[in-house]
């Protein structure tokens, strides 16, 4: 009997509750999309922030204060990456020296040019990049160096350090707008050979994952594990990153909350109107001895049915929407997390029941006799 009533009244009122159903459907879709996006947003924006560069720096424990700076072992790059167990990426060693070209001081920077993907991505290059780590005969030069010495790709230059000399061919000219513009970039092994410091590097830069506290802990752990080095988070970078990420996440939460609130409002008004319209029905039910709870159950069951229907129809496209949005916003795939499906359904149900409950409270305050007499 109860279910027959629910079914009949649901289909009869369907036309009038259409707007509320659309709102519920929208709520299901938006909450599913944003929840699904939420999990990935941090990581995706984080990978975008990575373009700003490294957030960890490794230097020798004793300070490179004077000219006789101590150096690190090149093997440390691999050791650190292993010890960090996946929490560290893009570890790059750098060896700096102030060399001479035609009697003028120029910074010579040695690194693994084949792995310097970050530098390569933002540098404007004319000529070609050095793809082979063992290439010791060629170099990349910064734009300022090229202008100063009138060099272009294919030409040669001679670099002097202490009493050693090395003739290098210019493979490419790069422009980054920062210190690389003033330097000669070579492979690490070439720089080590010229400065006679085999297997040595001046500094390591790396990228760690996680919040500033996590980075602090990782840096502390690695500093303790490897004697003679200091691992330090580049604090400004790490903290700005965390702030940007927190804000973006907060905004996704906020939007979901706003959409749900508005949906509850539209359910509330629709249900109030529906209940008002059917108050004769309600009055009759009450006059015939029907209980308050019976009416409440009828209305709530109706709302739940609508919410489930809207939720099922809305959540699936919501997840599809989040994938599309992920593609648009982050240009990469967003993983589907199935937990968002029941979550979105539950939220939609909750919002519908809440709206209906508030509407019922209002209608139930009416006296049956008054309603019936009204006409």
């Amino acid at each position: 009997m109860f279910w027959r009533l629910v079914r009949r009244s649901f289909w009869q009122s369907q036309r009038r509750t259409r707007v509320a159903l659309v709102a519920l459907w929208l709520a299901a879709m938006v909450s599913a999309a944003l929840l699904n996006l939420y999990f990935d947003a941090r990581q995706k924006v984080g990978s975008e922030l990575r373009r700003y560069g490294a957030n960890l720096m490794v230097t020798p424990a004793s300070l490179p204060g004077g000219s006789a700076a101590e150096l690190l072992a090149e093997s440390l790059a691999a050791d650190l990456e292993r010890a960090a167990e996946g929490r560290l990426s893009h570890v790059l060693p750098f060896l700096y020296a102030v060399a001479e070209v035609s009697g003028q001081s120029v910074v010579l920077a040695g690194t693994w040019l084949d792995r310097a993907t970050d530098l390569r991505a933002h540098a404007q290059l004319s000529g070609e990049w050095l793809e082979d780590r063992e290439d010791r005969e060629r170099c990349l030069i910064g734009m300022a160096v090229a202008t100063r010495f009138g060099l272009e790709p294919g030409r040669h230059l001679t670099v002097r350090y202490a009493n050693r000399e090395k003739r290098l061919q210019v493979a490419g000219v790069i422009r980054t707008g920062s210190q690389e513009d003033n330097a000669i970039l070579v492979n690490l092994s070439a720089a080590q050979a010229l400065t006679a410091s085999p297997e040595k590097v001046s500094v390591l830069l790396a990228r760690g994952e996680g919040r500033p506290e996590v980075l602090d802990a990782l840096a502390g752990e690695l500093t303790a594990k490897f004697p003679g080095i200091v691992v330090k988070p580049l604090r400004e970078m790490a903290e700005s990153e965390a702030r940007v990420l927190d804000r973006i996440q907060g905004m996704l939460w906020g939007t979901t909350a706003v959409v749900l609130l508005l949906t509850a409002l539209s359910v509330l008004t629709t249900m109030t109107a529906l209940a008002t319209e059917r108050r004769r029905e309600v009055g009759l039910w009450k006059a015939l001895g029907g209980s308050q709870r019976g009416i409440a159950r009828l209305f709530l069951a109706e709302a739940a049915l609508g919410a489930l229907l809207a939720g099922i129809v809305g959540a699936a496209p919501g997840i599809a929407l989040s994938r599309w949005l992920g593609q648009q916003i982050f240009s990469s795939q967003v993983a589907v997390r199935w937990v968002t499906l029941p979550a979105a359904l539950g939220i939609t149900l909750g919002v519908a029941l809440l709206g209906t409950y508030v509407a019922l409270r209002w209608v139930q305050s009416l006296e049956p006799a008054m309603i019936l007499r009204e006409n």
């Binding site: 700003y52 300070l63 973006i248």
Partner: protein, 424 residues
């Protein structure tokens, strides 16, 4: 007649009117708050991204190659060319002057410490008041360029006093702290004593440097008015394909559009115009990362605003729909008495527009308060009022109220009034 009907209808249906007004105000209020925050967050995030460092670098033209490691120029002061410190004020005269958030000059000098080691001195502005054309001043320096720097102690002043801000590792090595004194010797001069004002830890190359007032360093090195370089932090729009074209290849109309958009390239170009004989470089790493992020954030904002607007429109529509359907008997009666469809529609739509306008105005007020509350709790800062947002919300409320009323009205006209009247 029309006005009397309208007045009577509004007066008699006061409860209904208030309910619709409440729903519309709440709907447009929440939408206004969400939009206000979303718009402002975009701006806040853009400023947040500026804390990743300067995006424009100014160097003297016709210079020798800077010998630069860890952001510090190691050349002795006898070598290379310099910028004029006074010229930096011209940056606040360019077209996009309001987008210049900070500009910081640098002068570098190595000094010998008491223990025989050396330290890199960086002469710079901390919070210098630069005069502007309109008589006001613009405060800029390391403090505005690096708002996230945490320091123990105080920032040094910008007068030519012997004060210093030490990098954390340098301070640890010298066991110096704020309040202690530091003795150092510059090449070719007597030992000087500096007062340590503060210690800063950034984790980067700054930890090994000593920051001193520019005026002091210029005085002791005899380089008054000269700086090696300047860093500029400018608030920019994300770069697109258009922004990357060479200005020389543009038509006059395109050139105007490019010039009047705050792309990092056009701001750099304008700085070059204001400071001849300089080499203005865009720091590509920062500019590109910033541009990519800003594009993504814009998409996210659009999505958020759209979702909020859609939900608000639906909520308001359901209210209007309910309000009209509630009066179906009334409408049927009027129609049965021979009222023309047009005048009936006019009456109801005027009512809807009135409710919509009132709801929109109240909603905007509610939204402003809401946005302020959200921004204060989430971001710890207020939001700027946005007048065109008010207009948008008002338009939305009226539009949605009209649409919400029109749809069920049309439906009702389709029915025979007799059926509706007989219904009860």
């Amino acid at each position: 007649m029309f006005l009397r009907l309208l007045r009577a209808s509004l007066a008699r249906g006061r409860r209904r009117f208030l309910l619709a007004l409440l729903a519309l105000a709440l709907g447009s209020g929440v939408a206004a708050a969400a939009l206000n925050v979303a718009l402002d967050v975009g701006d806040k995030l853009a400023r947040e991204l500026r804390s990743f460092g300067a995006n424009i670098l100014i160097l003297p033209k016709a210079d020798t190659v800077p010998v630069e490691i860890g952001g510090v120029d190691l050349r002795p002061l006898s070598e290379g060319s310099f910028l004029r410190e006074d010229d930096l004020a011209k940056l606040k005269k360019i077209f996009w002057r309001h987008h210049i958030l900070a500009m910081v000059p640098y002068l570098y000098q190595r000094a010998r410490l008491a223990d025989g080691s050396t330290a890199q001195l960086v002469g710079t502005w901390f919070a210098k008041a630069v005069p502007r054309d309109d008589g006001t001043t613009f405060t800029t320096g390391l403090r505005t360029l690096h708002p996230a720097w945490q320091l123990e102690g105080h920032w040094p002043g910008d007068a030519a006093d012997a004060e210093v801000l030490l990098g954390a590792r340098l301070a640890a090595r010298l066991s110096a702290h704020s309040g202690s004194e530091l003795t150092l010797q510059l090449p070719g001069s007597h030992p000087t004593r500096l007062r340590v004002q503060g210690v800063v830890a950034t984790g980067g190359a700054e930890d090994d440097q000593a920051f001193v007032p520019l005026a002091w360093l210029q005085g002791v090195t005899g380089r008054s008015g000269s700086v090696r370089r300047a860093e500029v932090s400018a608030l920019v729009s994300p770069e697109d394909a258009f922004a990357q074209r060479a200005p020389a290849s543009m038509t006059p109309a395109e050139y105007d559009r490019w010039y009047c958009t705050p792309y990092v390239s056009s701001i750099a170009y304008q700085i070059g115009e204001a400071l001849p004989n300089t080499d203005v470089r865009v720091v590509r790493r920062v500019a590109q990362a910033e541009s990519a992020l800003l594009t993504r954030i814009r998409w996210l904002m659009a999505l958020v605003s759209l979702a909020a607007l859609l939900a608000a429109a639906l909520a308001m529509m359901s209210t209007m729909r309910a309000a009209v359907l509630e009066r179906r008997r009334e409408i049927a009666l009027m129609k049965a008495l021979g009222a023309a469809g047009v005048s009936l529609t006019g009456l109801f739509l005027t009512e809807a527009a009135l409710v919509g306008a009132a709801g929109g105005i109240v909603g905007y007020g509610v939204g402003r308060v809401g946005a302020e509350l959200i921004a204060r709790t989430v971001f710890g800062a207020g939001v700027a009022a946005n007048l065109w947002l008010g207009a948008l919300v008002l338009l939305l409320a009226v539009g949605v109220a009209l649409a919400g009323a029109l749809l069920p009205l049309r439906q009702l006209y389709g029915y025979d009034p007799a059926t509706i009247l007989k219904e009860t």
